[in-house]
């Protein structure tokens, strides 16, 4: 399982990085972009997951219950067998980010 700093420094996250954003905001936004792409490309409906998480980023405060609900929703989609391996892998990446953010928040290292 990757840590928040590792995820934040990944090349795919770099384009979302900015000086005033906290690491968890940048990493979450990259995950939301992944979810947005899955919906945009017609694979799976994700907006109901993205919206509340986006609000956390805007508010600048991580809300554990929102992240937990998002994790549960993503797992439910993964359990549906008809989405294929590509979607499963992408959703796993998102889950990894959500867990890293949760862990860093619990340890006080945003």
């Amino acid at each position: 399982m990757k840590t928040l700093p590792e995820l934040k420094n990944a090349p795919s996250v770099k384009r979302f990085d900015s000086v005033l954003a906290e690491d968890w905001q940048t990493v979450l936004l990259k995950s939301l972009d992944t979810l947005n792409r899955l919906e945009k490309d017609g694979y799976v409906f994700t907006r109901h997951i993205s919206r509340p998480v986006a609000k956390c980023i805007v508010d600048g405060a991580l809300n554990n219950s929102i992240i937990n609900a998002a994790i549960n929703d993503i797992r439910e989609i993964q359990e549906e067998k008809d989405h294929g391996q590509f979607v499963f892998n992408k959703l796993s990446e998102v889950l990894e980010s959500f867990f890293a953010v949760k862990t860093a928040n619990r340890e006080g290292g945003k």
Binding site: S18, A21, T26, L29, I57, V58
Partner: protein, 359 residues
């Protein structure tokens, strides 16, 4: 030197002094909307034929002799606005020759009487078209066309500085200046110097700052330039600038909206993009076109971007990401790509809600 003199100018050492001076100047400012054919120019020499002495003429205008002499040294003209005579300030010439369509370099070289006749003929042609006459410190400093939007200099400095403080924690005033043509102020942001220089990959000893230049008379525009200040106090321009002419629907609000585009790397991109996810767009094609137009990135590119934009439930985030993808999708030279990237980066600061209508 009296404030009304054409060449009056002042350097100020404190921002509060600049604001106070410009506030006083605003109090001593009149802006009169008048039909063009209600303005008559007359040379001071011609007026003296009637009133015989400078004293009598200055008494008629209600202005002290010194200001009359100052005018006689420069424009040598008086303009009667709906029958009320005003001295014509030197700075007004820019707007008179340019904004009411009197062209030709020879005009300035004419004798005052001929000049007055020519301008009067043009004003008569313009008939009841409205002209905004700006009178500051007892002289006409500008004559603007009806397209002119009033944006007083004191408000520009006050509100730009407030916005800068909100964004850059604190501002340090470097210097300021004003005369009857324009005013400027230089501000630095020392508290955020380290973070900003880090974002731009520049040496830590450089301090970011802005230069605000505005003219509410002749030139009629606002320009705000981002800059890096060296320890020796040398200003060097940093990337893009904000420029807005005082015309049509332009307003100070529009200037303030553009400010986040200065030092655009100094922002919370995640927060801004996440906020865009919550904005539903009703007219994606129109918004995309308007955004490209506003960014100066070519409306013609909308067709290509629309091909990959989702068809349903489009958000401002979707549009912003399409815009961000544009430079990589065009077959253009590297320098053009960098220029386009700089323009497109401003998409994050667009007000997509405002663009979302079918007009």
């Amino acid at each position: 030197m009296k404030k009304g003199y054409d060449f009056y100018s002042k350097y100020v050492n404190a921002f509060s002094e600049l604001l106070l001076d410009l506030q006083e100047r605003e109090v001593d400012t009149k802006r009169i909307d008048v039909c063009a054919n209600k303005i008559r120019f007359v040379s001071i020499a011609k007026a003296l034929e009637k009133y015989k002495t400078v004293e009598a003429l200055s008494a008629k205008i209600g202005i002290d002799i010194e200001l009359l002499s100052d005018t006689n040294d420069h424009t040598k003209m008086i303009a009667c606005v709906e029958g009320v005579p005003y001295l014509l300030g030197r700075s007004s010439w820019i707007s008179i020759s340019g904004r009411i369509d009197i062209y030709g370099g020879g005009l300035a070289a004419l004798e005052p009487d001929d000049k007055a006749q020519l301008i009067n003929a043009r004003l008569a042609q313009l008939g009841d078209n409205l002209i905004k006459v700006v009178i500051v410190n007892q002289k006409i400093r500008a004559m603007m066309s009806r397209k002119y939007a009033t944006i007083p200099a004191n408000e520009v400095f006050k509100q730009v500085a407030e916005k800068a403080r909100e964004r850059f924690a604190s501002t340090k005033f470097v210097t300021g200046f004003y005369n009857h043509e324009f005013a400027f102020a230089q501000l630095m942001f020392p508290e955020v110097a380290q973070k900003l220089s880090e974002a731009y990959g520049l040496p830590e000893e450089l301090t970011p700052g802005i230069t605000v230049i505005t003219s509410d008379t002749g030139h009629a525009g606002v320009k705000i330039v981002g800059s890096w200040v060296s320890p020796k106090g040398r200003f060097q321009q940093a990337g893009t600038e904000v420029y807005l002419r005082h015309e049509n629907s332009n307003s100070l609000e529009k200037v303030l909206e553009e400010l986040p585009n200065l030092f655009i790397k100094y922002q919370n991109m995640a927060l801004k993009l996440a906020a865009l996810m919550g904005i539903e767009i009703k007219f994606p094609a129109t918004v995309l076109k308007k955004a490209l137009k506003e960014l100066g990135a070519g409306e013609r590119n909308a067709k290509m971007l629309l091909e990959t934009l989702p068809t349903n439930d489009v958000t401002a985030y979707d549009i912003c990401m399409e815009l961000f993808s544009l430079p990589a999708r065009l077959d253009i030279a590297e320098t053009s790509r960098l220029e386009l990237e700089e323009k497109i980066a401003k998409a994050i600061n667009l007000d997509f809600t405002k663009l979302d209508n079918d007009k």
